[in-house]
């Protein structure tokens, strides 16, 4: 089990994030969908973007506090385009 705040803090330490939204998909605190907007994703493919997030959350994934993780990653430019 992990809290959305812990997810935000852990990601924020590893990446320059401008937005993190963590949603508990089951209410059990271990299945998460996380939306991340980061300048570090600029010019990178989705595989690389997801790798960066998985790396940043390696510890809670490995100790099973996070069991399932669905990611939506965007560079600030991609995120802006999405909203318009």
């Amino acid at each position: 089990m992990i809290t959305p705040q812990e997810i935000k803090d852990t990601l924020g330490k590893a990446l320059p994030v401008s937005l993190v939204e963590a949603q508990d998909l089951t209410g059990g605190g271990d299945h998460w969908q996380v939306i991340i907007v980061s300048a570090a994703f600029e010019g990178k493919g989705l595989v690389d973007q997801h790798r960066m997030v998985n790396e940043a959350l390696k510890e809670p994934i490995e100790d099973r506090r996070i069991h399932a993780l669905a990611l939506k990653t965007y560079s600030p430019a991609q995120w802006e385009k999405l909203g318009s």
């Binding site: 997801h50 790798r51 994934i61 990611l71 939506k72």
Partner: protein
């Protein structure tokens, strides 16, 4: 032994325009993520090969090492790792999957 598996994976990835490592088969997927991935690929009407990782623990482990990616399913297009279910879904929604497939089959 371990290297045999990697060589076998490499061979399949290079010799199939679209190669999907999944749980179960295209007709009988054994996991929701694998099923959704098959569904997306089928929607483009392109041929794709699959391998059931549940049938062989060495492949199940080997494919994760091959791509340094922790989860299954895994999709390879034109010899390159494209992603798992989430990424394929996202590329599909963004309209970026079709050009990838077109380019692969144009060769």
């Amino acid at each position: 032994m371990a290297d045999d598996v990697i060589a076998q994976i490499e061979d399949k990835v290079k010799n199939n325009k679209v190669m999907l490592y999944m749980k179960g088969t295209a007709d009988f997927p054994q996991c929701g993520f694998s099923a959704h991935t098959v569904e997306i690929l089928k929607s483009y009407g392109v041929p794709f090969a699959t391998e059931d990782v549940l049938a062989d623990p060495a492949v199940r482990d080997g494919i994760k090492r091959y791509s340094s990616w922790p989860t299954i399913p895994q999709v390879y297009i034109d010899g390159k790792f494209v992603g798992g279910c989430d990424i394929l879904h996202e590329l599909h929604e963004r309209g970026e999957l079709e050009p990838l497939l077109k380019a692969a089959f144009a060769k």
